[in-house]
C-alpha cells in the first residue's frame, strides 16, 4: 500500500479503523465518540462503519468509562477509551491507578489489561480551563502503566497500533495542538518499537529531548540555532514510561549537553527524572547541568496568558544559551 499525507488526528482515526477491522475484540468507548466522532473528530465515521456495539457512546462519567473498560478487558476485549480532555481524566484517576495499573500484578500475572486510554493533552489552542493540561508525570509515577506520546502523524498511526496490541495498559497522550499537522504515513513500514526514542535531527553541540507537541518546537529551535552556527540534536522520546535512557545517554555522550522540554510543569516533571538519571549515567561526559524548560508551578493560565506559560522558541533558545555558556 501507499504512503499518504494526512493530519495527525486522521492518522489516529485510520489506525483505530485498522484495529477495529483486524480484531473483533477491539472496542472504542468515550463521550461523544459515536455520531459526533469525538470533539476533535478523531473517531469520525467509526461508529457508522462498525456499529454502536463497537464504537460506544458512554455516559458522561470518566471513572465509569475506565472502570467498565477494565471489566471488558477482563472479559477478553481490548477497549480503547477516549478521555475528552486532559483535565477531565481525574475522576478516572482512581480506577487507573488503583485498579488498571495493579490488576496484572495482583493476579500474579493471571489476567491482562490491554486497555488504551487516549487523552488529548497540552495547550496552545486558546481553550478554557482544564482543557490544556499535561498530566503525564502523574501517570508516569505509577508502575503498571505505560505512557506514550507521538509527535507526528506516522508515529500517531503506528504507536496506536502498538498500544492496542500491548497487553499492558497504555496511556496515549495525543498532542492536541498538533492534531491538524500533516505528515506522511506509510501503512506498511512499522517505524520501530513503541518505547524507543528516535533522533529526528542530528547535531553535535547539545541535545534537545522532547515528546509530543514539543518535538516540533525543538526542530524550530534547532533551525534557529543553526543560523547562529550551533548544531543541536533533537531526540523525540516518544515514550515517557518506559523512558529510553539508553538513547538519551548515547546522544548526551556525543553532545555533552542536554535540555529537556515539555509543556508540563518543570517541578517533579519528566525532565526532572531525565536530569537525575542522565546525571548518574553521564556524569563525566556532561559539560553543563541538565536544564529543563516547561510549565511553571502555577495553575495552567487563562488562554491570553498561555503563550507566556508554554515553552516557546525564545525560552528554549535561552536554555540552550545557558547550557552552552558553561
Amino acid at each position: 500500500m501507499a504512503v499518504e499525507k494526512m493530519a495527525l488526528a486522521k492518522a489516529i482515526n485510520e489506525s483505530l479503523r485498522r484495529a477495529l477491522d483486524a480484531d473483533p475484540k477491539v472496542v472504542i468507548m468515550g463521550e461523544d465518540v459515536g455520531k459526533l466522532g469525538g470533539v476533535f473528530r478523531v473517531t469520525d465515521g467509526l461508529q457508522k462503519d462498525f456499529g454502536e456495539s463497537r464504537v460506544i457512546d458512554t455516559p458522561l462519567a470518566e471513572s465509569g468509562i475506565v472502570g467498565t473498560a477494565i471489566g471488558l478487558a477482563l472479559r477478553g476485549y481490548r477497549p480503547v477509551v477516549e478521555i475528552q480532555f486532559d483535565g477531565f481524566v481525574f475522576p478516572a484517576y482512581d480506577q487507573i491507578v488503583t485498579q488498571l495499573a495493579k490488576m496484572h500484578a495482583r493476579s500474579l500475572g493471571k489476567v491482562k489489561l490491554p486497555v488504551v486510554v487516549r487523552i488529548p493533552y497540552g495547550g496552545g489552542i486558546g481553550a478554557v480551563e482544564h482543557h490544556s493540561e499535561s498530566p503525564e508525570a502523574l501517570f508516569a509515577h505509577v508502575s503498571g502503566l505505560k505512557i506514550v506520546s507521538p509527535s507526528n502523524a506516522s508515529d500517531a498511526y503506528w504507536m496506536m497500533q502498538q498500544a492496542i496490541q500491548s497487553d499492558d495498559p497504555v496511556i496515549f497522550f495525543e498532542p492536541k495542538r498538533r492534531y491538524w499537522d500533516k505528515g506522511e504515513v506509510s501503512t506498511e513500514a512499522i517505524p520501530g518499537p513503541l518505547h524507543k526514542a528516535r533522533v529526528t535531527r542530528e547535531g553535535t553541540d547539545l541535545t534537545l529531548a522532547a515528546y509530543g507537541p514539543m518535538v516540533k518546537l525543538c526542530h524550530e529551535v534547532a533551525e534557529a540555532a543553526a543560523e547562529e552556527g550551533k548544531s543541536l540534536e533533537v531526540l523525540d522520546l516518544r515514550s515517557v514510561s518506559p523512558l529510553d535512557f539508553d538513547s538519551i545517554q548515547a546522544s548526551v555522550e556525543k553532545t555533552r549537553r542536554l535540555v529537556v522540554v515539555h509543556e508540563a510543569p518543570v517541578f517533579f516533571g519528566s525532565g526532572a527524572e531525565i536530569a537525575a538519571r542522565i546525571t548518574e549515567r553521564c556524569f563525566y561526559h556532561l559539560e553543563a547541568p541538565v536544564l529543563r524548560v516547561g510549565g511553571y508551578h502555577a495553575p495552567y493560565p487563562p488562554a491570553r496568558l498561555e503563550e507566556e506559560y508554554l515553552p516557546d522558541l525564545d525560552r528554549v533558545l535561552d536554555a540552550v544559551d545557558r547550557s552552552l555558556a558553561y
Binding site: 472496542v27 456495539s53 458512554t58 455516559p59 462519567a61 471513572s63 465509569g64 475506565v66 472502570g67 467498565t68 473498560a69 477494565i70 471489566g71 471488558l72 478487558a73 477482563l74 472479559r75 477478553g76 476485549y77 475522576p91 482512581d94 480506577q95 488503583t98 485498579q99 495493579k102 490488576m103 496484572h104 500484578a105 495482583r106 493476579s107 500474579l108 500475572g109 493471571k110 489476567v111 491482562k112 489489561l113 508502575s143 503498571g144 505505560k146 500491548s166 497487553d167 499492558d168 518505547h195 514510561s241 518506559p242 523512558l243 529510553d244 535512557f245
Partner: protein, 391 residues
C-alpha cells in the same frame, strides 16, 4: 432575615448524635419493613412468599443440609482466620461473621459460568465458587496481593478500594452481552460503598446498556464506625428505582430468601432484563477488621438483638423441626469443621514468604526497561552481602 439564615443558626447537634448515645432502637423501623423478603423466620419457621417461593420450590432436604454445611464451614474458617491473626500468623482479617446466609444464599444461586466481583469480605462466596480458603489468606498474611487465578473459578480478586469492582462487574457484564452469552455477573459491595461514585456510575452504566449484572449489597449496618444512616436517607434498595431497574430488600440472615431473590435477579439478567439491586439486610457481628474496636461506637445490646436472628441457628431449627437432618449429620459436620480449621491453620503456618524478586514480577505483561534495570540493581545489592555471610 431569610429562611436560610434562620436555619443556619440552628444547632446541628441532632445530625451527629453524641458519642455513647444508645442506638438500641435504631433498626426497629427497618426490621419490620413490609418489603423485606423472608422465607425463614429467626425462629426457624418456614414462611411462604408468593413472589419468590418458586425460586426455592425445588430445594431438596439434601440441598438444605448443603446450605447449612456451607454456612457452618465458612464460619469455622472465618473463626480460624481471626484466631490466626491473633496469633500473629495474619496481619489482618476481615471477618464475615453474621453474613453467612447472605453470602452462601447468593453464592449458591450462581452457575459456574457466572462471574463474581467480590469485596474483601466475601469468604462465603469464595467458598461457593470453589476457591480454596487458604488462597484467601495470602493477602492477609502479606505474601501476595491476590493469589488466585480469577478465571479458574470465575471469582475475581478481592477488591479493597471500596466500590471499584462494581464498575468492573458492569463492564464484564457488557462483554457478556456482546458475546451473546446467557451468563450473569454479580457485584458484591456494602452499605458504605453505596456512597461511592463508582457504585452510582455502575448503576448508570448497567442501566443504560441493560447489562446482565446483579448488584448484591450486604447492608451489614456499619461501615467501620459509621452507621447506615450516615450513608443514606432512604432504604438502599430504593435507590435502584432512580436508575430504572428494580431493587429488593431481602432478609440477609435468611439463606433461603437470599438464594431465592438472587436466583430471581440472575434470571432477569439472563433474560436480557438488565440489572437488579439486591439489598441483603444483615449485620456485621464482629469488628470491621481485626484492627477495629466496635466498643467505641456501638452497643452490645444491638449485637445481642441480631444474635437472636443468627443465620445458622435459624436454619438448624428448621432442619431439626422438619426432620431434614439428624444428630449424625450435625456431629459429622462438627468433625469436618474442626478438620477444616486444622487444615487452614497448618496451611497458613506453612505458607512461605515470597522470593525477594517477587517485587518485580508481573508489574507488566510485556516487560518494562526500568523494572528490568531496578531488578538488576536490586540483585547486585543483595549479592553484595554474600561475602559478609561467609565471615
Amino acid at each position: 432575615m431569610t429562611v436560610e439564615s434562620t436555619a443556619a443558626r440552628k444547632p446541628r447537634r441532632s445530625a451527629g448524635g453524641k458519642a455513647g448515645t444508645k442506638r438500641t432502637t435504631r433498626n426497629t423501623a427497618q426490621d419490620t419493613d413490609p418489603e423485606l423478603v423472608q422465607l425463614l423466620t429467626p425462629e426457624g419457621e418456614r414462611v411462604k412468599n408468593a413472589e419468590y417461593e418458586q425460586y426455592v420450590a425445588g430445594v431438596t432436604p439434601e440441598e438444605l443440609r448443603g446450605l447449612y454445611r456451607d454456612m457452618v464451614l465458612t464460619r469455622r474458617f472465618d473463626a480460624e482466620a481471626t484466631a490466626l491473626q491473633r496469633q500473629g500468623e495474619l496481619g489482618l482479617w476481615a471477618s464475615l461473621l453474621g453474613q453467612e446466609a447472605a453470602q452462601i444464599g447468593s453464592g449458591r444461586a450462581l452457575r459456574d459460568d457466572d462471574y463474581v466481583f467480590p469485596t474483601y469480605r466475601e469468604h462465603g462466596v469464595a467458598w461457593c465458587r470453589g476457591v480454596d480458603p487458604t488462597n484467601l489468606l495470602g493477602m492477609f498474611r502479606g505474601v501476595n496481593n491476590g493469589g488466585w487465578d480469577p478465571n479458574s473459578n470465575n471469582f475475581h480478586l478481592y477488591t479493597i478500594v471500596i466500590g471499584s469492582q462494581t464498575l468492573h462487574a458492569t463492564g464484564y457484564a457488557m462483554g457478556v452481552a456482546k458475546d451473546g452469552a446467557d451468563s450473569a455477573v454479580i457485584a458484591y459491595f456494602g452499605d458504605g460503598a453505596s456512597s461511592q461514585g463508582d457504585v452510582a456510575e455502575s448503576f448508570t452504566f448497567s442501566a443504560v446498556y441493560n447489562a446482565p449484572v446483579v448488584f448484591f449489597c450486604q447492608n451489614n449496618q456499619w461501615a467501620i464506625s459509621e452507621p447506615t444512616e450516615r450513608q443514606t436517607r432512604v432504604p438502599l434498595y430504593q435507590r435502584a428505582r432512580g436508575y430504572g431497574f428494580p431493587g429488593v430488600r431481602v432478609d440477609g440472615n435468611d439463606v433461603l430468601a437470599c438464594l431465592a431473590v438472587t436466583k430471581w435477579a440472575l434470571e432477569r439478567a439472563r433474560n436480557g432484563e438488565g440489572p437488579t439491586l439486591v439489598e441483603a439486610y444483615t449485620y456485621r457481628m464482629g469488628a470491621h477488621t481485626t484492627s477495629d474496636d466496635p466498643t467505641r461506637y456501638r452497643h452490645d445490646d444491638e449485637r445481642a438483638a441480631w444474635e437472636a436472628k443468627d443465620p445458622i441457628l435459624r436454619l438448624r431449627r428448621y432442619l431439626e423441626a422438619s426432620n431434614h437432618a439428624d444428630e449424625g449429620f450435625f456431629a459429622e459436620l462438627e468433625a469436618e469443621s474442626e478438620a477444616l480449621g486444622r487444615r487452614v491453620r497448618e496451611a497458613v503456618r506453612a505458607m512461605p514468604d515470597p522470593d525477594h524478586f517477587a517485587i518485580f514480577e508481573n508489574v507488566y505483561a510485556d516487560g518494562h526497561a526500568l523494572v528490568d534495570e531496578e531488578r538488576a540493581q536490586f540483585a547486585a545489592y543483595q549479592a553484595s552481602f554474600a561475602d559478609v555471610e561467609g565471615v
